[in-house]
Symmetry: D2
Subunit: 247 residues, 4 copies
């Protein structure tokens, strides 16, 4: 039996994660990772009902035992010789804009645990599957894509928690891009510089016009474009922002 | 009569320029600018014969009178209410790796004349057409794309000439992205970090494997992907390099 | 009785930390923090015997209880109204150049614990003393200085552990510079881009000439120069490397 | 007769240039370059009357013949075996905040002529003297220092003219730092990120408090600190801004 190529999305919620999952589900079975099942259950159902294939696995991305368990579930489901065509790290945490001296230690540690340690654990767990994807000659180079933010490149006042984790994640992605590019895995980092248009942000930026927020489907499309770049033309980093954004 | 939307490519040669022209010619009449007619004549013929529409105009991009003349020719050909869907600046000059104290003044000035002044003149000439494209509600946001290089972000020893011009061009593109994004024009900058696979580089990197050089058609594809991003999701900058490239 | 102004150095060892402590000891009583007493005992003795004043406190910089204890010891020694003229974060950990798939989780976590969490804990503990230094009108603006590395701005292949922590620390320092600059505290980050000349590196770069390694005393001098900048002229970041270094 | 070591300052005016000249005049005879004699005459007189030595030479920094003439005057004055301990490029031009489509071509070209071409010409003319300074074993490594601005690292909307020149100059300085560091010349770039307190800016930022503007003497002091760094500890780049500056 032929080996399967899957896509794995960590940090599935109502925004980028869901759009990315839908986009990649058109080409690959997708695995949805989130801590809370309510974050992936409906999405998995939707994908499965519309002709795709999706499974959700409750996973704490900052806990290597939990991620190891997810990989075990994946191998049970798709075979022990499963390869990955894409792994997308979309998790984040520890966002709090606050004067530094009032920043709770646990918020700071959450940012680090998700963005830095979580990125590390996710990468160590998925890279063997991505390298397997290279071996299986996936149609497009297996891709490891990290979702960044404005705070990945600018550490503003009162943003020490989120920025610290996001800079760490960007460093991780750059190091991996340099190490695994020559091995055929395409590692990318996307700087999402603006507000994403999701239910939670419905009331934000209402006066800034209809195009003031990033489209999550648009982000998913850009991730797909990164994924389909050939080995000769890898992009490590893109930035994405609404046309009207000040930067 | 309906207004026409065109694509303008400056710096047409056997590599990126030609690939970009072919790619955009599938959607728009294209205008090919180069100093020497032999750089665009065959390409224009090829595009016209395969069902597209192309005209070439001999233009010195660093000379505002020459570029003004090109705009006049464009308006005569496509109507005075012509708009641009895309303008791509792919010109460069003054490349010379040499100890600084032996760098001829005219080489340095050529780099500056093409990359800095040329970028400025091309942008001032095409932005009114791109803004006209916004007005004409082009299917994709009118795009002004600049071709950069490794030397756009790293100024290595003995590379003062080329790097100086390329950093200047990157600054120009960033300032324009911030000013014209809110007006609906998508300004991008692409860092081409590696050798492009063209006839002139045929013998280069032969030992580095079949994927060691950038594909010009791949670059054209990435430019097209930039062009088709919606107003909600503009990328200012991408980097592009072969998977095996050290960076 | 007048309040005292002290300097606190975290991460005292045989290199930068000791040189910085000696330099600042010429102006202020210094507090030396390191996990192992053998890292500060001789240095404290040396400073005390040569007319300065130094105390060492065994401290785990990544543990907020341990750092809180250090602050208690400081207040007991110098008075509860003690202010800080300088706090220098020179700790680091988790350095390991290794293929990513063989990088032990605990090494990665050490890098993060020291550089990210440690930087956070040290800053939350010392900033109140530095703000007290502003209030006490210290002769030079109270300074919080972070020691970075090449890996703070470049995440090379096989360097994911160290680079991730160092990028995080740089983000922290930038956010703090923006928040606390207007409050009178000078926050800086120094990119040490090269090998420091200490006993442990005696055999390194022997063929590269006498000036191929950074002088720790030179670094201390640069930190002092940062410290003595007036409020009108704050530097956030400097890079430091031997003249012969390739970069 | 012993060879002389001088300092050369290009772009002498009432601000940074004058402060730098005074600072370096305490250690070296200084050569003041500016287009208009009224920009250096009083300063030269002041330095000569207070025990230093200064000569002014009317020079168009963007014109290689004019700069060659300045070098001839220098050699006539100080001997053909004169060396330079420092060369400081403080010239700038083409500052105009304006919508891009209204930016006059001559303003853009002035920015480029001064910052890019002027930087090139000044460097080619002074580096032989700086290398001579290395040979003469100057007390501090001969230094070539470039004055940058906020616009050297950020190209804001409507700032295309100034930013383009300043990015070009930064590229030049980086390339020269990499090439001439190993030869013993210390090349630096200073990002002056704020308003400098000079007669022309007297009325600016009056509500922002007494420390809202950079001190020109402070900048001169920082340049001197760069100059006195030993070969083991070279800084390429520093940023400088008032404590209260938003960035």
């Amino acid at each position: 039996m032929a080996s399967t190529l899957i896509a794995i999305v960590a940090g599935v919620g109502p925004g980028t994660g869901a759009s990315v999952a839908r986009k990649f589900a058109a080409a690959y079975p997708v695995v949805l990772l989130a801590r809370k099942p309510e974050n992936y259950e409906n999405l998995a159902k939707e994908i499965n009902q519309s002709g795709g294939k999706a499974i959700g696995i409750s996973t704490d991305i900052s806990d290597s035992a939990s991620v190891k368990n997810a990989i075990d579930v994946i191998k049970k489901e798709f075979g022990s010789d499963v390869g990955a065509a894409a792994a997308i790290f979309n998790a984040s945490g520890g966002f709090l804009r606050t004067p530094f001296l009032g920043l709770p230690e646990d918020v700071f540690k959450t940012s680090i645990a998700v963005s830095a340690t979580g990125g590390f654990i996710f990468s160590q767990a998925t890279l063997p599957l991505l390298l397997k994807g290279v071996e299986l000659k996936s149609a497009h180079p297996p891709s490891l894509i990290f979702t960044g933010a404005t705070a990945s490149v600018k550490a503003n006042a009162q943003m020490a928690s989120f920025a610290t984790g996001k800079w760490a994640l960007r460093a991780l992605s750059q190091s991996l891009a340099k190490e695994f590019g020559p091995q055929g895995v395409h590692v990318s980092h996307a700087i999402i510089d603006g507000v994403i248009d999701i239910p939670r942000t419905k009331e934000w930026l209402k006066d800034a016009g209809p195009d003031a927020k990033l489209s999550a489907d648009g982000i998913a499309n850009d991730y797909w474009n990164l994924h389909t770049q050939p080995r000769t033309n890898f992009t490590w980093e893109i930035d994405l922002r609404p046309a009207v954004e000040k930067w």
